[in-house]
């Protein structure tokens, strides 16, 4: 295995970790208005995200940084091609972070309404645009030897819109389960019944996505050549089914873990299909960005491999420790440390 392959795997893991972890933050953000009927409920929802969302978002920064360090040519092409979409993502991520941090600082009605709306809109926009961005990567960008040949509107294909909507839907399901998993009482059960409704739509949406993926992308080519790898999407389907089952049975904890696995395995299935491309080209297959023509030098990859093998396990260890510290279920009456200053 070459280091480029190692970095493709790592690249996939970093993006997947981001979507699994920030996915429930974004979902909780989108559903925040539906779930939190009053101020104390909304405060409890924010408390469920408070200690973890920042650390979750850093997986995005690390995924971006790893793309830059390991595949600079692809980083340059992807980020400049998706300019307008990423600009909106940036605005949305900024608004989301500020809304979560500043909402509790005052209790005046205008203030809380401003940041509540900001949180909901920003979470929705982030989920939708990341979905659409990855839809475009899977489908390929209009690139030739001179670089990107499209416009902002060429990114708005029906397939990209569908992946965007699917991201929104699955993050909503994921977020509702997070809330059901973390909160006690009526808020937790309300989240579970909302998750139940969302999970009615998710299986048909997933089937539609799979059909459209095989029609609009070349992701299935790898599976035709290497059918053994089909175990990844098979596991994805199993994780999907088990989440649906646990949701139906009202087992919030297991449903949430299973939903984490489902999000992860869907991303893995797509990455297996994408390999060895980071971005295929829709104009000329030879102009696609692969892990071979877009990577850093062997020397840099070697150094970055050492760095990643040391740092990533440490990060996982302390983040797991933090999740453990905050494992106790949140009730509406729990002391709100963030407003206790």
């Amino acid at each position: 295995m070459t280091l480029q392959v190692v970095w493709f795997v790592l690249w996939g893991i970093l993006w997947t970790a981001y979507f699994v972890l920030d996915g429930f933050d974004l979902g909780t953000g989108i559903l925040y208005g539906f779930l939190g009927k009053n101020d104390s409920e909304r405060s409890a929802l924010r408390r469920s995200l408070g200690p973890v969302w920042g650390g979750n978002e850093v997986w995005l920064i690390t995924a971006g940084g790893a793309t830059f360090a390991a595949f600079p040519t692809a980083y340059a092409l992807i980020f400049s091609s998706l300019y307008s979409a990423l600009l909106l993502v940036l605005f949305a991520l900024i608004l989301r972070g500020v809304a979560l941090e500043f909402r509790g600082k005052r209790s005046a009605a205008g203030w809380t309404r401003l940041w509540d709306t900001g949180l909901i809109v920003a979470s929705l926009v982030t989920a939708l645009l990341f979905g659409a961005a990855f839809g475009n990567l899977f489908r390929g960008l209009p690139i030739d030897a001179g670089g990107f040949r499209g416009t902002f509107f060429s990114l708005l294909s029906p397939y990209a819109l569908l992946t965007g909507l699917f991201f929104v839907l699955i993050f909503c399901g994921h977020g509702a389960l997070w809330v059901a998993f973390r909160l006690q009482g009526t808020l937790g059960s309300r989240a579970l019944s909302l998750a139940r409704r969302i999970w009615l739509f998710l299986p048909p949406a997933a089937v539609a996505l799979m059909v459209l993926t095989s029609l609009s992308t070349d992701l299935e080519v790898n599976y035709r050549h290497h059918p053994l790898w089909a175990f990844v999407p098979v596991f994805a389907v199993l994780a999907f089914a088990s989440t649906a089952l646990f949701v139906a049975r009202g087992r919030a904890d297991r449903a949430f873990y299973s939903s984490c696995a489902a999000v992860a395995l869907i991303m893995f299935s797509a990455f297996v299909g994408l390999f060895p491309f980071l971005v295929p080209s829709r104009l000329d297959p030879a102009c696609g960005m692969t892990i071979f023509n877009a990577s850093s030098s062997p020397y840099t990859l070697k150094i970055m491999t050492f760095v990643a093998l040391i740092l990533v396990p440490i990060v996982i260890a302390y983040q797991a420790w933090i999740y453990r510290i905050f494992r106790e279920k949140i009730s509406l009456e729990s002391p709100s440390d963030d407003e206790g200053y």
Binding site: P51, T62, F79, V89, F91, R106, T300, I303
Partner: protein
């Protein structure tokens, strides 16, 4: 305007805005860690109240530092794709290491620190803020290493149409990166000290919580004195390095046109770039520039006229920023000394004039750090990677002036609103005082 100018403006706006929050994070996190450790060691509740009161202000600032930092990582790929492709083999590494090694620590442990008061032991809680402080400063170090390579590229070879890393050691031990890190660290300490002294002065003027704010003032004054003194020392060291590695920047800093030995230093001048001379010079110190740049009175300093016109940085902004930055730096040293002396000997609340001075001094270090970035980055022009890649050759091909104008307008409006919210919240919580905020 063209894509290059617009992208430079966008980068300048987003970087300078981001750097409003960075230095306070760097310095105040260290103060918080010190106070919380004192609380754990001594059990003195005032230290706990200090940690919480200043911690609350820290968090408002920290949130904005984090969200505006994401923009920076995306911008290299979005606006500077040709640069990213050219230098990613080298430049990407410190950025990725920053995210995985520092930013993760910072963001994860700030969560524990904010929400974990009743969840973990006092010692673990204090450890969390030490990790945040260490990681914030490590983060700045790695970013400045990346910047250091752009300023003083080394350890690479031009191959495959790009710069490829050949010596990781040269990247990690880049002298420019280390010196600007220390300069930024001491700037962070100084700025944070003035922030704490200024807010304390506000309360001491109103005779509220005199004990609490005198103690806060005192700790900050010590940090400010050490910080501002080292700030000047590190700045001088940077000057020596710039002399050796970026002669165009040095000449622009001094608006020095003619190559000569025993070059004089003019306290103030007005550069005339078209005429390649100074319109006027005021208060010339013989051999002053030679002494500053080389620490030798008869050293020869190369003037701007000896460099091709298309390799000279814009002289006026570089020169003025440098003059005002250094001026402010010296004022900060004097003020720190005064604050340190008075807070040691006297009762501060009996000295309203001094307190007012410190209240109104809060913006000074903020202005100085912004000027510092203008000096470093405008002074590097027209190069993106000094001597290797011109700024105009680093910009993305696929973006249009319309796209970048939209981005620039969007950032300006959004950041403007965030600035209003930031100042409003900081002022509100700073005024509240500790009594109402502690439990």
């Amino acid at each position: 305007m063209d894509v290059v100018t617009l992208s430079r403006l966008q980068f300048a706006v987003t970087a300078m805005f981001h750097f409003i929050f960075v230095p306070l994070t760097m310095g105040l996190s260290l103060l918080l860690a010190y106070w919380e450790t004192r609380y754990v060691r001594t059990g003195d509740e005032t230290y706990l109240r200090m940690t919480k009161f200043w911690g609350n202000l820290f968090l408002i600032n920290f949130a904005l530092g984090v969200v505006t930092g994401i923009t920076k990582e995306f911008e290299f790929g979005m606006n500077w794709a040709r640069y990213s492709r050219f230098a990613g083999d080298i430049f990407g590494a410190p950025l990725a290491i920053e995210a995985a090694g520092a930013f993760f620590l910072e963001s994860t442990f700030i969560g524990l620190w904010v929400f974990g008061w009743n969840k973990v032991s006092k010692k673990t809680h204090a450890l969390a803020i030490w990790l945040v402080a260490g990681a914030s400063n490590l983060s700045a170090f790695l970013i400045l290493l990346a910047n250091g390579w752009m300023q003083k590229p080394g350890g690479y070879i031009l191959r495959n149409g790009r710069a490829e890393l050949t010596d990781f050691g040269a990247l990690v031990f880049n002298r420019y990166g280390w010196l600007s890190f220390f300069h930024a660290l001491f700037a962070g300490c100084t700025l944070s000290a003035f922030f704490v002294m200024g807010v304390s002065a506000y309360h001491l003027l109103r005779k509220k919580n005199p004990d609490f704010f005198t103690r806060s003032f005192r700790t900050a004054a010590g940090l400010g004195l050490a910080g501002s003194f080292l700030l000047v020392v590190s700045g001088d060291q940077q000057g020596l390095l710039v002399t050796r590695t970026q002669p165009t920047k040095l000449a622009a800093l001094e608006s020095h046109w003619e190559t000569r030995r025993a070059a004089p230093f003019s306290l103030f001048a007005w550069p005339d770039s078209r005429g390649e001379k100074n319109a006027f010079e005021w208060l010339r110190i013989p051999s002053g520039l030679s002494l500053m740049a080389y620490h030798r009175a008869d050293a020869e300093v190369k003037g701007l006229r000896d460099f091709p016109r298309d390799e000279r940085p814009p002289v006026l902004p570089t020169f003025l920023s440098f003059r005002f930055m250094v001026g402010l730096g010296l004022i900060l040293v004097l003020l720190s000394f005064l604050g340190w002396l008075r807070s040691r000997r006297d009762r501060l609340d009996a000295r309203p004039a001094l307190l007012k001075l410190f209240l109104y001094a809060i913006p000074l270090p903020y202005i100085a750090v912004q000027l510092g970035w203008i000096v470093a980055e405008v002074g590097r022009q027209p190069w993106l990677v000094f001597g290797v890649l011109k700024t105009a050759d680093g910009v993305s091909n696929s973006i249009t002036p319309g796209m970048v104008t939209t981005a620039l307008a969007g950032f300006t409006v959004l950041y403007g609103l965030l600035a209003v919210v930031d100042v409003y919240l900081l002022a509100r919580f700073a005024r509240k005082g500790p009594a109402e905020v502690s439990r």
